[in-house]
């Protein structure tokens, strides 16, 4: 016999779909099938069932091989590493629940760590722009129910957020959008002819690195002022036309991704994109939203927001919280040799950081907490496998529009495996003992 669990939340991307159905065995030990999920999400669930999954912590030996250790030993190593370090980096936090993030934050407070999350190589620039100019935004349901102008800028949801377009942005029929996609105009701005661009009414193939100019040109076009014949490789007629399309809508939304946040201009691009949105509100209703990547990177920014007041790059090493991106961001610290131990949870910097940073992780005392074997676990001294959040343990996660959803536990983790929160709770207790607080 099997059992179907409904309303399951997908712990993969910031779309945080919550309508999955998962078939589990009667004893709730095996996860058999996943419905409604995209290919990536389904794989995340099914991967937890891998027979060769690592279920016990392991420590790197001198000869480079792994030796299995107990959770107690892993806790002791982690607590000692963090308390011995002058300035440890505690990085990641985007693929775990808010409960674990809160416990990790208290550890960081006691040991004087630098807390940074994956926004540092992703939407951190967006967060800086928001600090400059604010952000008119909305929940994804507002897009579904009202939006008739959809603009994707430097993002490719067809591949990165596969169900975004059907659940929220292009296709759904909402309250005031009963015609679904036929009632919407879709514009894609991307230097590449992506699969998302193939769905658009208009594809503005911007020259690489010229996003700022094009955004600026839109603002000029809104006001009906003169443009040069070409801006960022786009003929001015197409820019005027796009501006008119946006202005004439009842509700316009801009979604943006790595193509603008991490290309030339960085936070200034986002400043300008938000200014475009502000300007549009003079004519109609408009909103803008970052396409957040990890399913709970948004949540880690929220937890640190209410505990420390900053969404990423939080330096607790002086005993109080500081924030200075460029100085207190993970890559800058690693490459300047400013941190002397590295703790990674819920992220894979080994795969996503520059090689020069990854080498620094390899050179230091380091722990990776991750259910998977990853490039990061390969360069760390200790690897602590944990239960999958959203599969084997529940907990809160924040969608890209900051809506918090409680993820579900659908199957039991392999016998004896700890969760992120349990492991961190034990490390916190040990750290308090060592520090005498």
């Amino acid at each position: 016999m099997t059992r179907t669990v409904t309303d399951v939340i997908c712990p993969f991307c910031g779309t945080l779909c919550d309508d999955l159905e998962v078939v589990v065995s009667d004893d709730e030990k095996d996860l058999l099938e996943v419905y409604n999920a995209c290919a990536i999400g389904a794989e995340k669930f099914l991967h937890s069932q891998a027979k060769d999954r690592i279920t016990r912590p392991r420590m790197r030996q001198e000869d480079g091989s792994w030796k299995e250790i107990s959770y107690d030993e892993a806790i002791e190593y982690t607590a000692r590493m963090l308390t011995d370090a002058k300035k440890p980096l505690m990085y990641g936090w985007s693929s775990t629940n808010c409960e674990a993030q809160a416990v990790g934050s208290e550890i960081g407070e006691i040991v004087g760590a630098i807390m940074d999350n994956t926004a540092t190589v992703c939407h951190g620039t967006s967060l800086i722009a928001v600090q400059d100019i604010g952000i008119p935004s909305c929940t994804l349901g507002e897009v579904k129910n009202r939006a008739d102008r959809i603009l994707f800028w430097g993002c490719n949801p067809a591949h990165a957020h596969p169900r975004h377009m059907s659940r929220y942005s292009i296709f759904p029929r909402g309250f005031f959008t009963g015609k679904g996609h036929t009632g919407r105009k879709v514009i894609v701005v991307d230097p590449r002819p992506t699969d998302t661009a193939s769905l658009a009414d208009v594809h503005l193939q911007v020259e690489q690195g010229r996003d700022y100019e094009l955004l600026d040109a839109l603002r000029v076009a809104f006001k009906g002022e003169k443009l040069p014949d070409f801006v960022a490789g786009i003929p001015k007629e197409k820019i005027y036309e796009a501006a008119e399309t946006l202005k004439s809508g009842r509700f316009a939304i801009i979604f943006f991704g790595m193509g603008v946040t991490q290309s030339l201009g960085k936070n200034h691009n986002i400043d300008e994109a938000i200014a475009v949105t502000r300007d549009l509100n003079e004519y109609t209703k408009a909103a803008i939203m970052p396409m957040r990547g990890h399913y709970n990177v948004t949540g880690s920014g929220q937890v640190w927001g209410w505990l420390f007041g900053f969404p990423y790059a939080v330096d607790l090493s002086r005993g109080f919280a500081r924030y200075n991106p460029g100085e207190t961001t993970a890559n800058d610290l690693l490459r300047r040799d400013e941190v002397d131990a590295v703790f990674v949870l819920g992220s894979d910097p080994g795969a996503h950081f520059p090689f020069s940073s990854v080498k620094k992780i390899y050179d230091r005392p380091s722990v990776a907490i991750d259910p998977h074997e990853t490039p990061t676990t390969e360069v760390c001294k200790v690897h602590v496998p944990v239960a999958f959040v959203g599969v084997e343990v529940g907990g809160c996660a924040y969608r890209m529009d900051n809506v918090p959803i409680e993820t579900r536990k659908v199957v039991e983790p392999p016998e004896g495996m700890m969760t992120d929160e349990e492991f961190l709770g034990r490390v916190l207790a040990r750290v308090k003992e060592i520090k005498g607080v």
Partner: protein
């Protein structure tokens, strides 16, 4: 639990009617008891000091999504104000939007023990509860917003009170909410199209209902349920010159409606931050105070309570579910603007604001707030708030007390205004000599708000049987004092007990307390129509499923449920 005896303090307690007489207060098992009911108490010598119940804040924005937007998008708000971890105190930061940890500690330092979060977007209820969970010491509850909710708009268009009530009961349960909050009724829904409702008869786009119908209907539904608190409204047209007529129109919607609640409140409408709603004139050039017109109405109508929304002349962060207002404000001051419209439910905006004593309008706003309190005939129906952080941060409450208690302090402030003469001309305050006493302050900050919330059986006084929330201030009302002594003493309680636990000892935080989250569980008759509508809306229009909407228990580790039975 330890027993305490707080001896010989000057007690100010409207519940017992004690006006500064020396009395002893006994604490046992988390409650206030008769002094002969304790056997071996720890004795706190309060001779020469002021003793009051723990403060109760009826309206502050201290937890939830827009508060956190304020924190995260204003790194400058943390400059210079950070406090390192120390002993049991965790790191604290932020001035106008403090971290949750600082929020708990700073309220405790002022002698406050109960704080209500004034606006919870239902879809973001989990976030609000996560922040309240991480706010130490305080008992808290949160008001979900109803005034722009599609269910409410659709039911009240046809005046379906029973269905509205059933929906309210369902939503309070789903979000673990405390009361019915209404912000710019209809106007925030209009803002989803970039529009607004500017008076109580301005129809809501598409839904074809007026703000007046929404407010009246929600009052009736609130009384149908007999909830502890009344409908709690922030009316249309906030912050605009000439808006006092809209405020009076809103007040009048409560006329003829009597409270039907077993929780002992007398009002059917609480109107919040009335300072922002008491402006005359028709532009910022000729804006003036209409506090007198407003208070004439409030003084002669018993079924209304209000709070001040006092401007404190600080740099602060405004945040409200009144989305169109925040857009209006960013157009005015050109500072950064965050907006978050919430599907089917509400919206919100956040904009920093500098209330400068050099700007005439800010000074007029300052005067209007004080006028409201000083023109009140009954101090137990107007409560001290700053609509934290909108008109100023809550840590300024003691400064507001100083202004209310001392004409000299008000004169000093007038003298510091750049446009003193124009401000005096546009307001009534300079002609008001009244100075409130500590008994009236206790009415405004303890007994009054507790009663209005329907929590007089727990908070707001020192009568035996109430929760042992007791503050001791190093302030002798019988000795001569300078105005600043008031602010100093009430910013820095010497001792504070929260449900019998000493959380402040000798001016220092001594415990993280035993925080509780209050919510109201209203039982109604089964209502298949409402449940069908709920299912339908979740299936078709929400982006979360119905089964993922309800806030579950682990977000409220220490809940206090108030049961209401409306099944009759």
């Amino acid at each position: 639990m330890a027993e305490y005896l707080i001896k010989n303090g000057f007690v100010f307690d409207p519940v017992l009617g004690i006006r500064g007489d020396q009395a002893d207060i006994a604490i046992k098992d988390g409650k206030i008891v008769e002094t002969n009911a304790i056997t071996n108490p720890k004795v706190i010598d309060a001779a020469g000091k002021t003793v009051m119940a723990g403060g109760v804040d009826i309206h502050a924005h201290v937890a939830g999504p827009k508060v956190n937007v304020g924190r995260n998008f204003r790194p400058e708000d943390k400059l210079f104000g950070y406090k390192p971890r120390n002993g049991i105190e965790r790191m604290q930061g932020g001035f106008s939007v403090p971290t949750t940890i600082r929020t708990g500690y700073n309220y405790a330092r002022m002698g406050y023990t109960t704080v209500m979060e004034a606006a919870m977007p239902p879809l973001y209820a989990r976030h609000t509860h996560e922040e309240m969970r991480d706010t130490p010491i305080l008992d808290q509850g949160a008001y979900p917003v109803f005034g722009n909710n599609w269910f409410v708009l659709e039911y009240l268009k046809n005046h379906e009170i029973e269905n509205t009530a059933a929906y309210i009961a369902w939503l309070l349960q789903a979000t673990k909410g405390y009361a019915v909050k209404v912000v710019n009724p209809g106007g925030t829904e209009a803002w989803a199209w970039g529009l607004n409702c500017e008076n109580v008869h301005d129809p809501v786009p598409y839904f074809d209902i007026t703000p007046a119908q929404i407010v009246t209907g929600l009052i009736e539904a609130n009384e149908y349920l007999g909830l502890p608190h009344s409908m709690h409204v922030h009316a249309n047209n906030l912050g605009n010159p000439g808006n006092y007529t809209t405020t009076l129109d809103t007040f009048k919607l409560s006329e003829g409606i009597k409270p039907k609640s077993k929780f002992g409140r007398d009002q059917v409408m609480h109107h919040t931050h009335v300072q922002f709603h008491s402006y005359g004139g028709d532009s910022w050039a000729n804006v003036d105070s209409r506090a007198r017109e407003i208070m004439d109405y409030v003084n002669s109508h018993d079924n209304i309570t209000i709070d001040m929304g006092q401007v404190t002349l600080d740099e602060t962060t405004t945040m409200t579910a009144d989305g169109p207002f925040e857009h209006h404000l960013t157009e005015l001051n050109h500072l950064k603007w965050a907006n978050a419209d919430v599907e089917l439910e509400t919206g919100s905006g956040v904009v920093p604001y500098v209330y400068s004593p050099n700007i005439k309008v800010c000074a007029i706003q300052w005067a209007i707030g004080l006028e409201l309190a000083l023109l009140a005939k009954d101090s137990s129906r107007i409560f001290l708030t700053t609509d934290h952080p909108n008109a100023g941060p809550f840590i300024r409450y003691p400064r507001v007390m100083k202004w209310l208690m001392s004409e000299e302090a008000r004169e000093q402030q007038f003298d510091a205004f750049k446009h003193k003469d124009k401000v005096i001309e546009a307001t009534n305050l300079a002609g008001i000599g009244r100075e409130l006493d500590l008994y009236e302050i206790a009415q405004m900050t303890r007994a009054g708000p507790a009663k209005s919330l329907g929590l007089a059986h727990m908070y707001g006084g020192l009568a035996p049987g109430l929760e042992a929330d007791v503050a001791v201030y190093d302030f002798n009302p019988n000795e001569p004092y300078a105005p600043d002594d008031i602010e100093k003493a009430f910013s820095n309680a010497e001792h504070l007990f929260k449900t019998g636990v000493q959380v402040v000892r000798d001016h220092e935080i001594a415990s993280n307390g035993n925080k509780r989250t209050l919510w109201v569980n209203a039982k109604v008759n089964e209502n298949p129509q409402v449940m069908r509508d709920v299912k339908e809306k979740f299936l078709r229009y929400y982006t979360v499923t119905l089964n993922n909407y309800e806030v579950t228990g682990h977000y409220l580790p220490n809940p206090y449920v108030i049961e209401v039975d409306a099944t009759q």
